[in-house]
């Protein structure tokens, strides 16, 4: 396969599970945990390089390990922001340590070309190299992506239940800690995967931006993740296309910027829909059939917003 096919396969294999998981990450308000899990991939990759192990092993050990740590430290497998912040500063510090160790080990000669090369290698693990993946890389990513998506499908129901109504979920026998831990591990694997394509720093982009756009369009619990995955997929393809045609724009940044553009566009679409249905609602008194139809759509919007609120109150009131 050509490098472009590899990039498209790998990008799709990363975007779909990230989009699906991202919707649940936002619902459970675990954005910061997702960010930390993405960044730890950098430390994992550098540690693997420093010890001479395969970089992929380091990535996944790092992200899954941190997922378990965050699950253990948090109440009910949801670490609070402060624990995440402190743990995550430590993890990045370790990344700096391995970076220094790596450049010392390979830089005993100390010429300028080698220095620049190592800086570029460090930046690659931070910002990804989707256009530099081999066919084998792409296929491995596709396989991991399938496993993560399947895992999420299996976990979706209890996850949704415990996310929206933790009390009742517990009463009905949902094992919250187990579900939360498995979910964080899935996010960790997805982040490790995303960091190979768009880099450790931008892995959060594929997790959050498509899902946030989808949440502006729908609050339906099974439609939402699918919409998020679709937006992620389109953003990934668009980003790769942009970086092919505009000189000097790196693919990973283009992908993430396309996804954030989708978020902005979704906000505009949401405003249009509300305004249109409000106008229709005003016209209903005159017995206009089309307006009445649109008004019922508006009620749908209102119901959607109310539907999203109780879960939030529950979570805030714990």
């Amino acid at each position: 396969m050509s490098f472009l096919t590899n990039a498209l396969v790998a990008g799709s294999a990363v975007a779909v599970p990230s989009g699906l998981l991202g919707w649940f990450v936002l619902m459970r308000r675990q954005v910061f945990a997702g960010d930390a899990l993405g960044h730890v991939a950098f430390t994992g990759a550098l540690a693997a390089a420093a010890f001479g192990v395969d970089v992929r092993v380091g990535l996944f050990v790092g992200t899954v390990g941190l997922a378990c740590v965050l699950a253990v430290l948090g109440r009910r497998a949801r670490a609070d922001d402060i624990v995440i912040g402190a743990t995550f500063a430590l993890v990045l510090g370790l990344g700096v340590f391995f970076l220094a160790r790596l450049s010392r080990a390979s830089g005993r000669g100390g010429d300028a070309g080698l220095q620049a090369e190592r800086a570029a290698a460090a930046a690659r693990s931070l910002f990804g190299s989707i256009l530099g993946l081999t066919t084998r890389d792409a296929l491995v990513l596709a396989a991991v992506g399938l496993v993560v998506s399947a895992g999420l499908v299996a976990l979706a129901r209890p996850l949704l239940f415990s996310g929206l109504d933790p009390e009742r979920a517990r009463a009905r026998g949902v094992r919250e800690r187990l579900v939360g831990t498995l979910f964080l591990v899935l996010v960790g694997v997805a982040a490790g995967q995303a960091s190979q394509a768009v880099g450790a720093l931008l892995a959060l982009g594929l997790l959050v931006a498509p899902a946030a756009a989808a949440r502006r369009l729908t609050a339906r619990p099974y439609l939402g993740p699918l919409v998020a995955a679709a937006i992620g997929l389109v953003a990934t393809w668009a980003g790769i296309a942009v970086s092919r045609h505009v000189d000097g724009v790196p693919a990973s940044a283009a992908v993430v910027l396309c996804a954030t553009t989708a978020f902005v566009l979704a906000g505009a679409a949401r405003r249009c829909r509300i305004r249109r249905s409000a106008a229709a609602f005003a016209g209903r008194g005159r017995g206009d059939a089309r307006a009445a139809q649109a008004a019922s759509a508006e009620q749908g919007v209102v119901r959607v917003d109310l539907g999203a609120e109780p879960g939030r109150q529950l979570r805030d009131g714990r």
Partner: protein, 265 residues
């Protein structure tokens, strides 16, 4: 090295005081994001031929105003953590594009992200010191309303306080502190001085009069030790900062556990 110690000390006194509020208000992620927002600002300034500091300030202040709009509630179908996450990734991606457009890969990309304690000029020390005095003065001036608005926004609103203005003010102060701190500790490692010492103090006491001095003490000791260790080894100070600060946080958590077990007996 002397300049690094001076600037490091000023930052270590300043950051935890504000950090105490950041932890209290649960805005760790927002503070981290403002640190990241400094990265495209600095890259853009370098790209346009301006001093990096101008870029730091312009971008972090913009970020602070943008984030404060999402404080405590939903707006346009988006809640606070989501908004913070979006700003975060857009800033990183934008910074990466800018640093790539400027003559291939900026050699300072890692310095922008992870900081460079060593090699600080006397001018930078003066700028840091002036900033610290101004920030601490503003914080002292708005102290009481800020505490009330943080602990009980409803009550503060009913007392006629403009909570939204205070929300912006705190993030603006964080933005300024982040701008001076990230020049030294790096955009990604702000949290080691801003959040971790304050988080450790919060585990030990809820009283500001005790907690803030403890946090400052932790930060100053950690900074000095890190600088000396970085000087004698050749690992960047960011690693020592992160490791020692986390050590302090971990000890505080342990002490808290031990105390609550002892109290339960």
């Amino acid at each position: 090295m002397v300049h690094a110690l001076q600037a490091g000390t000023v930052v270590a006194v300043l950051a935890p005081v504000l950090g105490w509020f950041v932890v209290l208000r649960g805005q760790t992620f927002a503070a981290h994001t403002l640190g990241v927002v400094a990265f495209p600002g600095a890259a853009a300034a370098v790209f346009a031929g301006l001093p990096a500091v101008a870029g730091y300030y312009a971008s972090t202040v913009t970020g602070a105003v943008a984030l404060s709009r999402f404080r405590g509630g939903r707006r346009a179908g988006t809640d606070e953590p989501t908004a913070v996450g979006i700003v975060h990734v857009a800033a990183l991606a934008g910074g990466f594009v800018l640093s790539r457009l400027y003559d291939g890969m900026l050699p300072q990309t890692t310095a922008l992200l992870f900081g460079s304690f060593l090699g600080i000029s006397a001018g930078q020390v003066r700028v840091t010191l002036v900033t610290a005095v101004v920030v601490l003065a503003v914080l002292a001036a708005i102290w009481r309303p800020l505490v009330l608005a943080t602990l009980d926004p409803e009550l503060a609103r009913s007392r006629g306080l403009r909570v939204a203005v205070l929300d912006v003010a705190v993030l603006l102060l964080v933005a300024v502190v982040v701008a001076v701190t990230s020049g030294i500790a790096g955009a990604l490692l702000i949290g080691t001085l801003l959040v971790t010492p304050a988080a450790a103090a919060h585990r030990l006491t809820a009283r500001a009069a005790v907690g803030i001095p403890v946090a400052v003490l932790v930060a100053v000791v950690v900074t000095w030790a890190s600088l000396v260790l970085a000087f004698v080894s050749d690992v960047p100070p960011g690693f020592y900062l992160a490791a020692l600060a986390f050590g302090a946080f971990g000890s505080a958590v342990l002490a808290d556990r031990v105390r609550s077990v002892a109290a339960a007996r």
